[in-house]
């Protein structure tokens, strides 16, 4: 169908336009050694839309997607967009773990999903899913092949939901972040423009496509378009040095990774082999999705300098699912830089007082740069909502074209004047954002998110816990979860070990501090709710 001459307002419209500009752009998937052109991928996606329509999917439906980093992920996502339906990408497990099936069940219920598309490569996953798909129409991607007439124009607009991201939120109350076609296009435009993409670029990605940085990093390449190469996450994690070789041999110029991956690369390639790599073409090394450690960042730059990696290629960024992805990007073509501040003052008063790097007690905070286009950032006092001056730590709030219209259910994250509260803490200095603390009530360990609600749920009904009274929260200084339980039993090593084991079995999180307190020790609000913030003050 001919796209009108004005700007496309939908993802499929924009990708069709990209495919007309450069139809032969290669899209390569390491899984299955599949290579298609962008024009083929777009045409196949429309055929998948026809098959999904034939299977009963309609505009406004939300459909679960369980795919690896493979071409079908895009075909299904784009196909759903064509129909005006909405994709809910599900995270894939690494290994069998208690709680996975429950999490999927929770998302299916929260999003009122009636249809799930399961990759034909993942037939074994059905065993791990248990009863989660009972009562659901489960389509295999192999059911979506073949000739299907493209569906009639569904009159989808930019305001239709395209994706609901379930990467945040606890198992008990999964948060579905709604993203419209307009949000996604704003995100892709912002990424392309911030890194000054040209037709000479080539993108690579091994981050999972169910993760925002993996998905929108990849879509930004298709949208421009530039060649895109996609690997499975396991290809990187199992052998980072081999991946780096493939990546550099492919001439990739832009690739996103979290902090731990830069550390893994520096460890994987011995010093005397660094010069065998040519990283001089790597123009944009996005560094996001995790707190950025100064020593990891500097270690990577120094280690890979003999391979021709340029410091200005390293691009610390800040983003979140609620912003589709990008909020701030550090300044292109400039080396990353850290702001050195007095650690004690920062913790005690929230003032970011600049000190020399070698001053005792100096803490380095990597700048993640100014807001991307069509995005605004402010820092406010979390209690009063007053906008704070530069160099004062507060809650980061954002407003912009790629910001979600809201969660599917539950409490909405907006202030009265329409800004989205990120829950992250930081300060501005010279217009550049610096993140000092992660979301107050969540901890990230190597890319996995852990929530206090889930930690509490793991022990609440334990006989040792008095009247189910317990509270978990994040100790930001130690970057560790703390669990406080009320108990009439004496505080012993055995009791603490028992509670720790229960949390670990239920959530996979083991590194927690357990505090056993007497009945009524946990502070409550007037409504009787246990209060995490107050507990943090009392128990540290």
């Amino acid at each position: 169908m001919a796209e009108p001459m004005n700007e496309p307002t939908t993802l499929h419209g924009a990708l069709a336009a990209a495919a007309r500009r450069a139809p032969a752009t290669p899209v390569t998937f390491h899984t299955g050694r599949e290579q298609v052109t962008l024009a083929e991928l777009v045409a196949q996606s429309h055929a998948v839309a026809g098959a999904l329509a034939a299977a009963g999917v309609r505009r406004g439906d939300r459909v679960g997607v369980l795919c690896q980093n493979e071409a079908d992920f895009f075909r299904v996502l784009i196909g759903l967009g064509v129909l005006g339906a909405c994709a809910c990408p599900f995270a894939l497990p690494t290994m069998a773990r208690d709680g996975y099936a429950e999490r999927i069940s929770g998302i299916i219920a929260a999003a009122e999903i009636r249809t799930v598309v399961l990759s034909e490569r993942l037939a074994r996953l059905r065993g791990v899913l248990g009863t989660a798909l009972d009562g659901i129409t489960a389509l295999s991607t192999s059911d979506l092949r073949g000739e299907h007439p493209a569906p009639p124009d569904s009159e989808v607009t930019g305001d239709d939901d395209l994706i609901v991201q379930f990467t945040s939120g606890s198992t008990s109350a999964p948060k579905g972040v709604r993203l419209t076609h307009a949000n996604v296009l704003a995100c892709l435009d912002a990424i392309g423009s911030a890194i000054e993409l040209t037709g000479e670029d080539s993108a690579g990605n091994w981050l999972p496509l169910f993760h925002d940085m993996g998905l929108f990093g990849s879509l930004a390449a298709l949208h421009y378009p530039i060649p895109l190469t996609v690997w499975q996450p396991s290809v990187f994690v199992k052998d980072p040095a081999h991946w780096l070789k493939m990546m550099s041999d492919s001439g990739i110029t832009a690739c996103p990774m979290p902090n731990f991956a830069y550390e893994a690369l520096a460890r994987a390639v011995p010093e005397d082999e660094v010069a065998d790599y040519d990283l001089s073409k790597w123009r944009v090394a996005f560094n996001g999705a995790e707190p950025i450690a100064v020593d990891t960042l500097e270690g990577f730059l120094e280690h890979f300098s003999p391979a021709g990696f340029r410091p200005e290629s390293m691009l610390p960024v800040y983003g979140l699912a609620e912003a589709t992805l990008p909020v701030t990007f550090s300044v292109l073509k400039e080396p990353p830089h850290a702001d050195w501040v007095d650690r004690a003052r920062l913790a005690a008063t929230g003032e970011a007082i600049a000190v020399p790097r070698d001053a005792p007690g100096a803490r380095g905070i990597v700048s993640v740069g100014p807001p991307v286009q069509r995005m605004a950032v402010r820092v406010t006092d979390p209690d009063t909502g007053v906008t704070l001056d530069e160099r004062i730590v507060g809650e980061i709030e954002i407003r912009g074209a790629s910001v979600t219209p809201g969660y599917l259910h539950g409490e909405q994250p907006f202030t009265e004047d329409g800004w989205l509260r990120t829950g992250d803490l930081g300060y501005l200095a010279d217009g550049e954002l610096h993140i000092t603390g992660r979301r107050k009530e969540m901890i990230i360990v190597r890319g996995d998110n852990y929530y206090p609600e889930d930690v509490e749920a793991a022990v609440r009904t334990d006989p040792a816990v008095h009247r189910r009274r317990c509270v978990a929260y994040l100790d930001e200084t130690a970057e560790r979860m703390v669990l406080v339980v009320e108990s009439t039993a004496p505080d012993t090593d055995d009791l603490r070990a028992h509670l720790r084991a229960k949390v670990s079995a239920a959530t996979g999180l083991d590194d927690i501090r357990v505090v056993v307190a007497g009945p009524h020790a946990i502070p409550r609000t007037s409504s009787g709710k246990l209060q995490r913030l107050a507990s943090r003050t009392r128990f540290g």
């Binding site: 037939a123 396991s234 996995d448 079995a505 996979g508």
Partner: protein, 88 residues
């Protein structure tokens, strides 16, 4: 099943997780081990692959929960390899 495979896999998991091998019984839920995360699991899988010169697909790893599960998969994968003469 060969006890050798179980003890080799236990050693690999212990190394990647930084835990004493004695703490990792063949039927312990690996997800519940101290410091368990997806990166360590995949690194252990990579080491198992190198040790036995086999390749394990991601979706085979999805189903693993314990050292015994992993050892069973290793033995089955080695058995599949053998009819073709073994090795590469």
């Amino acid at each position: 099943m060969s006890d050798d495979v179980i003890s080799t896999v236990t050693g690999i998991v212990a190394g990647e997780f930084g835990l004493p091998a004695a703490d990792i019984g063949p039927d312990v839920d690996l997800g519940s081990l101290e410091g368990a995360d997806s990166v360590k699991v995949l690194r252990a899988v990579a080491k198992i692959e190198r040790t036995y010169d086999i390749e394990l697909e991601d979706d085979q790893v999805f189903g693993l929960k314990t050292v015994r599960d992993a050892a069973t998969l290793v033995v089955a994968t080695l058995a599949e390899k053998e009819p073709s003469g073994g090795g590469r």
